[in-house]
């Protein structure tokens, strides 16, 4: 008798397999749909910044190159005057630069007009220690950038430690970026 009952249960369990598979698939799709496809996992985390050298913006003396990042923790921000989300982020960056906790370097990405970048910085404020002009995505590709704004945390040895896709808000700064920057600064402090 028990054998027969057991077999019946197995039979019934077999019928449940498609349902279980279906639920698992729906689960995967559900998670997949919730992800932002533009958040491409970067292979560059914990890799040294590739060498690049960018010309200065028009009317400025200094450009920006990979050597400038050595010796201190820094933020590298990719922006463009054409980028709406950058304008949202810009007031925060300007505020942050006034605090003087961490130097912010700018990559002015793909300006069609050589005046546009400098004019934009004049109008909205310039939080950058150095800015490089990147009309042909040289540095942008070196950083594996897929859109603007993107911000990288680079440690004192010139190694990329974090990639922020999209505008930095004060919440994102306090919860995510600042703890990393603080830790890296503590690590690179002499005697620390």
């Amino acid at each position: 008798m028990t054998a027969v009952v057991g077999q019946g249960l197995v039979r019934r369990a077999l019928f449940l397999i498609p349902l279980v598979l279906f639920v698992v698939l729906v689960g995967y799709f559900w998670i997949g749909l919730g992800k932002d496809p533009h958040e491409v996992p970067s292979p560059l985390i914990n890799q040294p910044v590739a060498e690049f050298a960018l010309a200065p913006l028009e009317g400025r003396e200094h450009g920006f190159n990979s050597e400038d990042l050595k010796g201190h923790v820094s933020l590298v921000n990719i922006f463009g005057s054409w980028c709406v989300a950058c304008r949202i982020e810009h007031p925060f960056l300007t505020q942050l630069s006034r605090l003087g906790i961490v130097p912010i370097y700018g990559i002015d990405w793909r300006e069609k007009d050589r005046q546009a970048g400098p004019a934009w910085l004049t109008q909205y404020g310039d939080p950058y220690t150095l800015v490089g002009d990147d009309p042909e995505s040289r540095a942008a590709i070196a950083f594996g950038v897929t859109g603007a704004p993107e911000t990288f945390i680079v440690d004192a040895k010139g190694v990329i430690r974090f990639k922020q896709v999209g505008p930095i808000t004060s919440e994102i700064w306090e919860e995510t970026l600042w703890p990393i920057v603080r830790q890296l600064q503590a690590d690179s402090a002499p005697g620390g």
């Binding site: 793909r110 995505s137 590709i141 594996g144 897929t146």
Partner: protein, 169 residues
């Protein structure tokens, strides 16, 4: 009825051909490369290689297009980079490796075969195989003669008699 079949058949074939032609035309439109004449290399062999590499690389902006198909600025700059490296003497592999080192495997439209992507490459075949096995097993079992039910035990016989007896009353 028999005389109508050929006409209907011809009609269907005509429609099918129209549909196929339309599809082919649409395909031609969608796969027109975005490469502009000014971008092309003067060396035709290098340009051909650049095109082949361009078709392998995903545009990071319009993610379902290759950089060869995309009009996005970033795709254009990646095309330039590919051409520059080819002109500098890189092999196709080196160019692809460079872009992958910046953007990861995601940038390849054909994911490489490695342990993480095994499920992706072989999953469908494995699932189809399992399905096939299940089908074969199912039909084999179905063809086998159904076993006659086991005879009733003495107790069961009594119970049956009792129930039937109840009804007869």
């Amino acid at each position: 009825m028999a005389d109508r079949t050929p006409i209907a058949g011809r009609l269907c074939a005509g429609r099918l051909i129209t549909a196929l032609v339309a599809l082919w035309l649409a395909w031609g439109v969608s796969s027109a490369p975005a490469v502009e004449p000014a971008e092309m290399l003067t060396d035709p062999t290098l340009e051909t290689r650049a095109r082949e590499i361009g078709r392998e690389l995903r545009c990071l902006v319009c993610q379902n297009q290759s950089i060869d198909d995309s009009d996005a600025d970033l795709a254009r700059d990646l095309r330039m980079l590919v051409r520059e490296r080819l002109a500098a003497g890189d092999t196709d592999r080196e160019v692809l490796d460079y872009v992958v080192s910046r953007y990861g495997d995601f940038v390849l439209l054909r994911p490489p075969i490695k342990p993480v992507t095994w499920a992706l490459w072989f999953g469908p075949a494995v699932i189809a195989g399992l399905g096939l096995i299940a089908l074969v097993v199912y039909y084999r079992r179905g063809r086998r003669a159904v076993e006659p039910p086991a005879p009733l035990s003495e107790q069961e016989e009594k119970r049956v008699a009792q129930i039937l007896g109840d009804h007869r009353r």
